[in-house]
Amino acid sequence: MPVSQYLANIKDTVQSAWEGMTVTFSYLFRRPMTVQYAGPEKAREKHELVQDTLPSRYRGFLEVDLAICTACNACERACPINVIAIEIEKDPANPKLRVMTRFDIDEGKCMFCGLCVEPCPTGSIQHTREFEGTQRTLSNMVLRFVDPAKPAPPYKVAKGATAFPRAVLGSITRPLVKAWDSPPPPLPIESAEEAMAHAAKKAH
């Protein structure tokens, strides 16, 4: 390589490195893209909730407003991975009516795709902007919307209704999300003896 070529190479390299440096330098004076995550609950009180900075279409934890749920099962059928479990029984007080005794959404399994939200006739099931649900046990991720002691009657859609009185988005799910270290719910069968007794009872 002739000396002139050698020197030209050095010049090119230094020049293009300098160009790059000027770009890098300008980034020192730009607004950072990162945002400060407003820490745990306490520190956050001073700031806006992170959830509220998200766009309204954000697909976070699901929420069902039982007051306007018609128990039509459309959401359960739409979910490709059976995340939603709805059980409907006859009302013991009035056998002509039906009540929902279970409406569970397993957020540990949900992939937040939004397919269940689309067929809902009343907009009862919606994505909220809640996303912090760290749990020690997977079973704590299940959101139970119906209290088994207080079954929920289905909502009757008035003829021609287009708007439904829905609770504020997030106000139902937010209290249901457990603290991260809360104990898991009891298993249906607790001890080995009980399991044996259960099996014996079944055999009879």
Binding site: S16, A17, Y27, M33, P55, R57, A78, P80
Partner: protein, 389 residues
């Protein structure tokens, strides 16, 4: 290659003394996901690098035969997590073909907008990580910084930042939110300036140019033989873009170029058509083209439905088979679907660009240095989940 074969080459192979067998990956930071290469090397020079795939196999094709047609849409996001829109679109096109369903113009435009934004986002990662794999760390966070804005735009559009699940059979899931179009336009203005800056930062950097010029050249004939597609094929000088060759959706309405490789590194630096730098620079140019497409689509965005009102709630296409092809970020993505008239696909097959790109690595890596393998993988822009599906 099975383990016993490795053993045999070591012991009794023709170059038993000199050949060194190295495992690169599957947890190597610069193999772009869980990829494994078995490198046969003599010192620093490779005899070949054999890719081993299958570490990210999630049997998506089988899942597609288990869930309903609409229910597969969120799964198609996972085919290629950096370019989920294209997988969405391919799947939607395939089922629409089976059903004989039309997509209203607004739906088609929204598809094009979302896809081209996604293309820019994915290319930004490819560009940044190419630079990072070569050793220039700075461009990567800068590229991700711009990608973050696209994520924000797409999040406002469809509610998710990575697994979009935006397209539906017969259209798209949501209309553009109010105030979204000006935001998108403002970002495009900003982005074109950033790309110029990106060129100054790394694309015209002498060290970077010399490092990639003339490296791992894939001639046009070879690229066609191995079935490369997308930017990898065009960088070899073959002018083939599905958006132009077999236009689908709203693409016939737009004016854009499909950049092809032209030895951009410069002949004086030893640049050749189809080298690593061409593959890199074609992506930079494609980002610009995508930006113009988004701009045109926003200008011409027609009114009307964004989803066909006749789209069935529960798709039950008649028996038959079909194929759909889209120009994805990493090349041609094709869906082959067989329907038996039920509400689930009888057979589903996905063809992806990364898989064919992996196939060519063994051939191209002959005679390269080990350090160049990283540049080759980065320039081919393979993404592990797309290889295995």
């Amino acid at each position: 290659m099975a383990l016993d074969q490795i053993f045999i080459t070591r012991k009794f192979g023709p170059n038993a003394e000199q050949e060194m067998i190295l495992n690169m990956g599957p947890q190597h930071p610069s193999t772009h996901g869980v990829l494994n290469f078995i490198v046969h090397a003599d010192g620093e020079v490779m005899e070949k690098a054999v890719p081993e795939v299958g570490y990210l196999h999630r049997s998506l094709e089988k899942i597609g035969e288990m869930v309903s047609y609409a229910g597969f849409m969120p799964y198609s996001d996972r085919v290629d997590y950096l370019a989920a829109m294209f997988a969405n679109e391919g799947w939607a096109l395939a089922v629409e073909k089976l059903l004989g369903l039309e997509v209203p113009p607004r739906g088609q435009y929204l598809r094009a907008i979302s896809c081209e934004l996604n293309r820019i986002a994915s290319h930004l990662i490819a560009l940044g990580s190419t630079a990072m794999d070569i050793g220039a760390v700075t461009p990567f966070p800068y590229a991700l910084r711009e990608r973050e804005s696209i994520n924000d735009l797409i999040e406002a559009l469809c509610g998710a930042r990575l697994t979009y699940n935006y397209h539906r059979i017969g259209g798209v899931a949501y209309d553009v939110p109010p105030d979204w179009t000006p935001l998108c336009r403002a970002w495009l203005d900003h982005f074109e300036k950033v790309l110029d800056e990106f060129d100054r930062l790394i694309s015209t950097n002498e060290i970077f140019l010399k490092r990639l010029a003339g490296l791992a050249v894939i001639p046009a004939a070879m690229a066609i033989d191995y079935g490369l597609s997308g930017p990898n094929l065009r960088a070899s000088g073959v002018d083939f873009d599905l958006r132009k060759a077999h236009p689908y959706g709203a693409y016939p309405d737009f004016q854009f170029k499909a950049p092809i490789g032209r030895a951009y590194a410069g002949l004086s630096r030893g640049g050749k058509v189809g080298d690593c730098y061409d593959r890199y620079y074609c992506r930079v140019l494609e980002c610009r083209e995508s930006a113009t497409i988004v701009r045109q689509a926003l200008d011409k965005l027609p009114d009307g439905d964004f989803i066909n009102p006749k789209a069935p709630k529960k798709a039950k296409p008649p028996a038959g088979e079909t194929q759909s092809r889209v120009e994805s970020v990493r090349g041609e993505m094709a869906y082959y679907v067989v329907s038996d008239g039920s509400e689930r696909a009888y057979r589903l097959r996905v063809r992806t660009g990364s898989f064919t790109a992996m196939g060519i690595i063994e051939e191209v890596s002959k005679g390269l240095m080990i350090a160049d393998l990283v540049a080759l993988i980065a320039s081919l822009d393979v993404v592990a989940p797309e290889i295995d599906r």
